[in-house]
């Protein structure tokens, strides 16, 4: 790991965000417009910051920054290639969970900070959604780490050299996918900033640099989450012909496209039903997934 790796992570963040923007145009079927996107981005950043008179001192302007830091830290833990393993901690998967956990206060700060009724409602709906996705996300990480016998993402990738974890533990994979869509507040879980119901909700007050940072953070979050899905479930950089980094990129783009495509096909979820569904179905299934993971580890991965 050379000293340039932090810049490498930032490069992956920016490149990934651009790639996700292009993916959205592809999935939505609109013509690619790089000129328009560039113009929109530059005009947005050139606007002055805007602050509603109802805003709460620093919460309003700190939220986008915290969101971006959480997103990039989550991205830093993803092992992209044997040579570039990102932040290679022994407990890297927990750092991934910890970084994602800071998206919750960031969106609540935005919702509470803007002060408008619908913004506050958006902030509290996000808390309810956090209660729904947090437990499956954390328990599935345990289920995946057990066979690998370590919490280091690259070790988990190594243990999948024969067969990807998605085939070994399909239940864990099925619980993981909706949780990662909810973490990135992408449709069908875009409850905090539901455009049609809350008119922009928690992020309605943002203009200029704040809005650009929130837009960037959401895309970086999607790149981080898709990358980690590829690493934990689709045997990371292992693959027959192509070099490791290319495999990782292909799998990440695949997962991101699946997430964006599913978002367009499903209606927006309701908070109370999602919460009840998560605690009545997803959590018990997550417990079962851990039990299955234990059995599989004893049987195959000794």
């Amino acid at each position: 790991m050379s000293t340039l790796t932090p810049l490498g992570v930032l490069a992956v963040a920016l490149g990934g965000a651009g790639c996700v923007a292009v993916l959205e145009c592809v999935v939505a079927g609109t013509r690619l417009a790089p000129a328009t996107m560039a113009r929109l981005a530059s005009t947005t950043v050139r606007q002055p910051l805007r602050r509603p008179a109802t805003y709460d001192s620093w919460l309003f302007h700190l939220a986008p920054g915290l969101l971006l830091i959480a997103a990039v830290m989550a991205l830093a833990t993803v092992p992209w290639a044997p040579g570039f393993r990102g932040v290679d901690f022994q407990a890297g998967v927990i750092l991934f969970g910890g970084a994602l956990a800071y998206v919750t206060p960031a969106v609540f700060m935005a919702g509470w900070g803007v002060g408008t009724p619908l913004g506050v409602v958006g902030g509290f709906r996000w808390l309810a959604l956090m209660l729904a996705y947090a437990m499956p996300l954390a328990m599935v990480v345990t289920a995946v780490a057990a066979p690998a016998g370590s919490l280091r993402p690259s070790d988990i990738v190594e243990v999948q050299h024969a067969v990807p974890m998605a085939l070994v533990q399909p239940l864990a994979f099925a619980l993981w996918l909706p949780a990662i869509v909810a973490v990135c507040f992408l449709p069908p879980f875009d409850l905090p900033q539901a455009d049609s119901e809350l008119g922009g909700g928690a992020f309605a007050g943002y203009r200029g640099l704040d809005a650009a940072i929130v837009w960037l953070a959401q895309r970086v979050l999607l790149v981080a989450v898709s990358g980690m899905t590829a690493a934990l479930f689709l045997s990371g950089w292992h693959g027959p012909l192509l070099p490791p980094a290319i495999w990782m990129a292909v799998k990440t783009v695949g997962v991101a496209t699946l997430v964006l495509w599913a978002g367009r096909r499903l209606p927006r979820m309701e908070v109370d039903r999602t919460l009840a569904l998560a605690w009545k179905v997803a959590n018990p299934l997550a417990i079962v997934a851990i039990v299955i993971a234990g059995a599989l580890t004893l049987a195959f991965y000794r």
Binding site: M1, S2, T3, P6, V9, L10, Q47, P48, L49, R50, R51, P52, A53, T54, D56, G65, L68, I69, V72, M73, A76, V87, D88, F89, A91, W112, G115, T116, P117, V120, F124, A128, L131, M135, A138, M139, T142, A145, A146, P147, A148, G149, L151, L209, I213, D272, L275, A276, W279, K280, N283, I287, I290, V291, G294, A295, T297, L298, Y301, R302
Partner: protein
């Protein structure tokens, strides 16, 4: 360059970039205040999912024990599996009790 150094260098780099971006925009463009004269809507918000939050805190504590188990389980064998089995059934009982008492519904 160890992982911890990498982590803090990246964090410092991010903070630096964000602060400089905000400083530049504030210096060049300043801030506009909109919706003047409106009172912020900060009520004592009637959160409807507080019972689920209580269950969530207990479950979050559980994760503190599940992670070390996942790290060492492969080398310990069946005994650790039985232990975590007990641990998970206890948690399952917690959810079942919450479900029966209607803690999972929107109050």
């Amino acid at each position: 360059m160890t992982a911890v150094e990498f982590f803090f260098v990246l964090l410092a780099l991010l903070l630096g970039l964000l602060l400089s971006a905000y400083a530049l925009v504030l210096w060049r463009r300043g801030v506009e205040v909109t919706r003047r004269g409106e009172q912020p809507a900060w009520p004592r918000y009637h959160v409807r999912f507080y019972t689920v939050a209580l269950l969530f805190i207990a479950f979050d504590m559980e994760m503190a024990y599940m992670y070390p188990w996942a790290a060492v389980f492969r080398d310990l064998g069946f005994f650790a599996y039985a232990e975590i089995g007990f641990f998970l059934t206890v948690l399952g009982l917690g959810i079942a009790y919450g479900w029966r008492e209607g803690a999972l519904e929107w109050s």
